[in-house]
Amino acid sequence: MNLTTTEPAEVSDTLSGGSQRGDRVFHGLAFAAGASIMVALAGVFIFLAIRGAAGFSAATGLYQPYTSFVPYAAGLLFGTALVAVLAMIIAVPFAVGVALFLTHYAPRPLSTVIAYLIDLLAAVPSVVFGLWGLKALGPALLPIQRWLNEHLGFIPFFAGEVSATGRTVFLAAIVLAIMVLPITTAICREVFGQTPRLHEEAALALGATRWEMIRYAVLPHSRSGIIAGTMLGLGRALGETMAVLLVLNASGPKITWHLLTSDNPATIASNIAQNFQGENIDLQVVLLATGLVLFVFTFLVNFAARWVVIRSERKFQ
């Protein structure tokens, strides 16, 4: 302690000192970081809107097999949503099951190892998943696809003539399911692990088995987290490009519920990747317009998910 600091003037200097400057700088940095997200998002939207605007009403020949933008984009959007939703139908039960196993069944050392391996799955590049799906998983799943067609062919999903290569919506959905598994599992694991001990013990003390305890305490607590994990996975599945491009034998935009045939709907992202390299500038503009459709669609999906989460949280408060 310095003697001079006892003088009143010095003290007031210390009180009004530099700590506020640091505060202001940090406030500015944090604000800039937050704002940059908005800027980036707006930038992408504006880019797509300006460059793609002409694509909404281009020459009719560009929208093959259709003649205008709306059915063309609708067909692509259908393919995108079909593959992504199927992937989530497969992935979510798996993710919830794996996450429950890791948090409530597996012994600690085993659960650490498995959690690490699942995180590793997220680090595999999508092109590798694509090649694996194309060369290994596709042929391996062919008998299953044939079996489904033969025995469950009366269900429209499994009807039609089975693709000889196995590069179907069915295969694409399975590959996508594996790809979104890590993110959905990670979120579920996080929220399951945060279930208040108090509620778990409330169920156990009533004589609940482990599964009953999960149903009474863990799942109700985690509902919004499961939805959030599902939506993050869905976001990834909707935008996945490379794996779908490799795995799916797509024949352009179309609406069909047949999952096992060689005549499959393209997705927006794979359709862009497939056709953007061409010389046709006008087609590129149309593809940018479909990119805008995908952007808005994923935005709406996320928006709807937030709304569901908020509503289910508010219901019991």
């Binding site: 108090l198 509620h199 013990e201 409330a202 169920a203 003390a205 009533l206 004589g207 609940a208």
Partner: protein, 259 residues
């Protein structure tokens, strides 16, 4: 319905750590038994070993015997889930299921035991349990509202209603009033007096006046020394404990000359 509990040479461990050592006692049926003692002396741990809730924590285990009505709880053939259905528990902080209504909270345990409960039966059971917990008149018009909307004291009585709805033989209470205000506390104490005629009640409390008010027998737990396991110092009728205890340490603790 109510049953006595015989504990002999019970050692309770967390992994390799011996938390409570060598407990012997007999808890009488249809009476209130209170455990007092300083924090960390193992009284809650001991309470949780009486319905096998202790082993919920990874690595936790016990040695010795706990016998309820001739049946050893830690016999290998005994299912801990079945034990907990017979020996109910009320926790330190009220813990109604947050996503369930008052009605469903009361029925939660019943629905675990029997898959289908008839509507008329369920209604009757909810009313009986809530009346048993002195909560009926306060909530009868809003049974479909979430249990979390009640005050802390009401939530705790809801938890008691939930516990007695499955008609357990023993009711364990782990500091049930420590998060409540004096009025709610007094409501719960009155309730304990009434429940005594049907249930064997074991209560852990930090409040010595509470132990003196509600219990018939009192056990005093203490650590042998810092870092040593907790043990049961004295177990006697409450009247004797608070007037002429056998052990000097008990007298020192009760009269506030602790340490």
């Amino acid at each position: 319905m109510a049953k006595s509990i015989d504990v002999s040479d019970l050692n309770i461990y967390y992994g390799d750590f011996l938390a409570v050592e060598g407990v012997n006692m007999t808890v009488k049926a249809r009476s209130v038994t209170a455990f007092i003692g300083p924090s960390g002396c193992g009284k809650s741990t001991f309470l949780r070993s009486l319905n096998r809730m202790h082993e919920v924590i990874p690595g936790a285990r016990v040695e010795g015997k706990v016998v309820v009505d001739g049946q050893s709880l830690y016999d290998p053939s005994v299912d801990p889930v079945a034990v907990r259905r017979q020996i109910g528990m009320v926790f330190q902080r009220p813990n109604p299921f947050p996503t369930m209504s008052i009605y469903d909270n009361v029925l939660a345990g019943k629905r675990l035991n029997a898959k289908k409960v008839k509507k008329s039966e369920a209604d009757a059971l909810v009313e009986k349990s809530l009346r048993g917990a002195n909560l009926w008149s306060e909530v009868k018009d809003r049974l479909d509202k979430p249990g979390m909307g009640l005050s802390g004291g009401q939530q705790q009585r809801l938890c008691i209603a939930r516990a007695i709805a499955v008609e357990p033989e023993v009711l364990l209470m782990d500091e049930p009033c420590s998060a409540l205000d004096p009025i709610s506390t007094s409501a719960i104490e009155d309730l304990i007096h009434e429940l005594k005629s049907d249930y064997t009640i074991v209560i852990v409390t930090h409040n010595m006046q509470q132990a003196a008010r509600v219990s018939d027998d009192t056990g005093f737990f203490n650590l042998k020394a810092t870092g040593e396991p907790g043990h049961l110092v004295e177990f006697n009728p409450t009247k004797k404990m608070f007037t002429a205890p056998d052990n000097d340490a008990t007298e020192a603790y009760i009269s506030g000359r602790f340490g």
